[in-house]
């Protein structure tokens, strides 16, 4: 399926730091954009633990509630994806512990723990590349987001229209941006464990 994309709005191309500042100032558009940007990431945590939508919605609200209280204290916006997923996991485990304590479902909680292990590694890798992505300039961030994070297979003409990049420049620009992303990723402390392929091997 090919997907055409509308031109990116000002809000869509804002950095995480700009969005956080906007949220602190009470800009609802920035808040909505932050939710749109990271909502699926946060929601995936309870879902991968096998929680139903009702419980996942509770955890989703709890994570973003906590975020509203922490907006002022986020020193490194690049760490936001990791903070979100860590907070979502903590809320999930608190929730599962409550369930286990209440209904003596300790074994059920343990089963969830086993089930989520592989999924979590994939999410950890995703969080790492999102953090690296957040460290790129807007042009690269927007291009890689449209090409790899948007649903559906990207239509180069749509991407061209959305970002104002000639179709013929998308390939070379993508390569440059991926190279920068690899460099950003390589600098993350967790990179060797999550991406052993990045090791030089020299």
């Amino acid at each position: 399926m090919f997907t055409a994309y509308p031109p990116m709005s000002h809000q869509q191309s804002e950095s995480d730091a700009d969005l956080i500042h906007g949220c602190i100032a009470g800009d609802a558009d920035c808040w909505n954009d932050l939710i749109n940007r990271y909502g699926a990431l946060v929601y995936s945590v309870p879902k991968r633990l096998g929680l139903n939508d009702s419980d996942a919605e509770d955890i989703f609200q709890a994570v973003f509630s906590i975020l509203t209280n922490r907006l002022h204290s986020i020193d490194d916006p690049q760490a936001l994806p990791k903070w979100l997923i860590t907070t979502a996991r903590r809320e999930c485990w608190r929730h599962l512990r409550r369930m286990a304590r209440r209904d003596e479902l300790e074994s059920e909680a343990n089963r969830h723990a086993e089930v989520q292990d592989d999924g979590d590694k994939a999410l950890d890798r995703h969080v790492a590349v999102r953090s690296a992505l957040a460290g790129l300039g807007p042009r690269c961030r927007d291009l890689l987001t449209l090409l790899f994070l948007s649903p559906g297979r990207p239509d180069y003409e749509g991407v061209s229209a959305a970002l104002g990049i000639p179709v013929g420049s998308i390939g070379p620009t993508r390569a440059r941006c991926l190279s920068k992303l690899l460099a950003q990723l390589h600098a993350l402390p967790a990179a060797p464990e999550l991406f052993p392929e990045l090791a030089s091997g020299d």
Partner: protein, 202 residues
């Protein structure tokens, strides 16, 4: 990481994304078998693109709606007399109803307790159903540091502006009687305001 001076990064990306013509892609794959550096680079790019494309669970509309309202609660719609500058959104720490419930009504118990916590105070609500259909809410606000500030408590029914208000006594205790519904619980301690959004009481 060096691959081969004759092979561009863009070509490798095209190979990984499947956009390189089949014959060129096959040649590159062959070269990679004899060139460990090239093979590592292909693996690294593939791994990063896979991580970017990691499938995620889209949040439900209900989850999005609940998260989006948080910024409104945070910035603009506190009732007159409640101080927005010191506002924090409290986190649920205990709900003796349905173990899966965090926010929102799930249980049908005739008496239950909800506890919420912020960085400077805890709020405990003991809710009992009355014969006439209303709910009696007996509450306790525990401020962590000694304070002589007056404590005001208000319940605001969702979608309405009118408040059901009271003041806590010297020990932080208060009582209210309300119709079963969803409420924002707003607690004012001096210049600080603690908010618990969307608590279903009934």
């Amino acid at each position: 990481m060096n691959a081969d001076h004759n092979i561009t990064f863009e070509t490798i990306v095209g190979h990984v994304t499947g956009e390189l013509p089949a014959d060129q892609s096959a040649t590159l794959a062959q070269q990679a078998e004899a060139n460990a550096s090239l093979a590592r680079m292909i693996a690294a790019i593939r791994s990063v693109i896979t991580a970017l494309r990691e499938p995620q669970d889209n949040p439900t509309e209900a989850a999005l709606a609940r998260a989006r309202q948080l910024i409104d609660l945070q910035v603009g719609v506190l009732p007159f007399g409640f101080e927005p500058a010191g506002l924090v959104i409290a986190e649920l720490v205990e709900d003796t109803r349905d173990p899966s419930s965090m926010y929102g009504l799930r249980g049908e118990a005739t008496a239950y307790q909800l506890s919420f916590e912020a960085d400077y105070a805890e709020v405990h609500l003991h809710v009992t159903s009355e014969a006439g259909g209303n709910c009696r809410v007996r509450g306790q606000v525990d401020v962590f540091e000694p304070s002589n500030d007056d404590i005001r408590v208000a319940l605001r029914r969702s979608g309405r502006e009118a408040l059901i208000e009271t003041e806590a006594d010297d020990t932080g205790q208060f009582k209210l009687e309300v119709e079963p519904a969803t409420y924002d619980v707003i607690v004012s301690v001096g210049l600080r305001t603690l908010l618990v959004p969307s608590v279903e009481i009934g």
